[in-house]
């Protein structure tokens, strides 16, 4: 009987086996890479706003507390946007002729709210709550990036599920307290906001290593054994339910 396959068929078979493995794999990895890239997640991309509001200016330089504008952040699920009245409490007296503030004045006169473009969003099937995170001393910059440096607000992290889970699975790598602040009687929640005040007063030099990471927008995760041990102490002190924190119902209810 004549041979059906030529010897070269061996190579073809091997190459196609290999190709069969590599092509789907690289397509999969490609999609994964794409979905994590800024093109999809919009991390680090400033969005157009009706008024070029600058956190760098109002927080970093003027030292206004987050809660002056995002009043509900420490007691409710939402941080919320400030009503026009809040801007006008200052801008009725200062920079009253600035053309950049024209939409603010107009909104105040007509009573129609300014339409800010939302930068941070989770899908509506995800339950998120600000107050619990802030009350555990998790700084805004952990999730939002270096807000104190933003001229036009951008998104600091992807807010994809894997990103939330990397902390929910190991909160001890993120929880932190400033020992001097704790000794002075500041609660974890107060330390969140005190960081920006210290930064505005004394600059970045006088902050501890973890706080410097936060202020400069680095990921504040600790890999150091001692730091993790301290984090674990905080987990116990706050009574964080680590067993359940990564369960689906925590975020999908």
């Amino acid at each position: 009987m004549a041979q059906i396959f030529k010897p070269s068929a061996n190579t073809i078979a091997q190459v196609s086996l290999l190709g069969g493995a590599i092509v789907p794999l690289s397509v999969g990895l490609g999609i994964a890479a794409l979905s994590r890239s800024p093109a999809n997640t919009k991390v680090g991309v400033p969005l157009n706003q009706p008024v070029p509001f600058s956190h760098e200016h109002h927080v970093g330089q003027l030292g206004i507390d987050c809660r002056y504008c995002h009043t509900s952040v420490e007691k409710s699920a939402f941080a919320g946007f400030p009503p026009t009245e809040t801007c006008m409490s200052c801008h009725s007296q200062i920079w009253t002729n600035s053309p950049l503030l024209e939409p603010v004045r107009k909104s105040y006169e007509t009573g129609t709210p300014i339409r800010w473009t939302k930068v941070n969003k989770v899908p509506e099937f995800v339950f998120f709550n600000h107050s619990i995170h802030v009350n555990r001393g998790i700084n805004c910059n952990t999730c939002h990036g270096a807000v104190n440096d933003m001229n036009i607000t951008w998104k600091g992290n992807s807010f994809q599920m894997a990103w939330c889970l990397q902390c929910h699975r190991a909160p001890e790598r993120y929880l932190h307290e400033n020992e001097a602040d704790t000794a002075a009687g500041l609660t974890p929640r107060q330390q969140v906001f005190n960081l920006y005040w210290k930064f505005q007063q004394d600059g970045v030099k006088h902050l501890d290593a973890h706080e410097q990471d936060l202020i400069s927008g680095e990921d504040p995760v600790s890999f150091d054994k001692d730091e993790i041990a301290k984090g674990r102490k905080l987990v116990n002190k706050y009574g964080v339910k680590t067993q359940q924190l990564a369960d689906c119902w925590i975020c999908h209810r």
Binding site: G28, L62, Y68, Q93, E124
Partner: protein
């Protein structure tokens, strides 16, 4: 020699799985935008375009019955209250300090002397934020401070929407602390256990 299973069954499984993966990547829109309204979202139903509705005039939400005029207005029979209507504790003063630093210090400064950051950035040119250490304000009944926070004063806006009544009293109490602190005599200072200084 053991027989090697035909690759086709693996390939079929792989093809089905990757088909599912590819198809499901594109089908998640309806749960992402659900037909519900969150605070601050917009609604076409109402003329002002806001989903959050203001109270209908005349309604009193649960817990918002404001019968106690001293506590909620700072006035009794049109006269300013002279005594804080809640117990003054260290905790209340600490709360007052925190709230003062958030909402008042940008203009009035952390000492209440009217030298805050915003005052320095041009606010004072038009209207200097009040200095709490004048004789007039030191002898002013405490209810005045509550009233200023609630209703504003001259160029200063009302802070009623951001500072709750209990916190307003806490701030008022803390303003008294600031006033005392700026007028303490060296003897009082020593009695309070402050660290020794060379400049009295």
């Amino acid at each position: 020699m053991s027989r090697w299973a035909p690759p086709s069954s693996y390939l079929v499984k792989a093809a089905i799985l990757s088909g599912i993966a590819a198809a499901s990547a594109g089908c998640h829109t309806d749960m992402w935008r659900q037909p519900k309204l969150a605070p601050l979202s917009e609604s076409t139903l109402f003329p002002d375009g806001q989903a959050s509705r203001p109270f209908v005039p005349g309604t009193i939400p649960r817990g918002y019955l404001r019968e106690d005029s001293a506590f909620y207005t700072g006035f009794v029979n049109k006269k300013l209250v002279t005594k804080i209507p809640i117990p003054v504790t260290l905790q209340l003063l600490k709360r007052g300090q925190e709230r003062f630093n958030i909402y008042c210090s940008p203009c009035h400064g952390r000492l209440g002397d009217g030298e805050g950051m915003i005052a320095h950035r041009g606010f004072s040119i038009r209207r200097k934020p009040g200095d709490y250490h004048t004789d007039r304000l030191r002898t002013m009944p405490i209810g005045h401070f509550y009233d200023v926070i609630t209703n504003g004063y001259g160029a200063m806006f009302s802070y009623a929407s951001r500072v709750e009544p209990h916190d307003r009293w806490a701030i008022a109490a803390y303003i008294r602390v600031l006033q005392l602190s700026q007028h303490a005599t060296p003897a009082e200072y020593a009695e309070a256990g402050g660290p020794a200084t060379t400049t009295p």
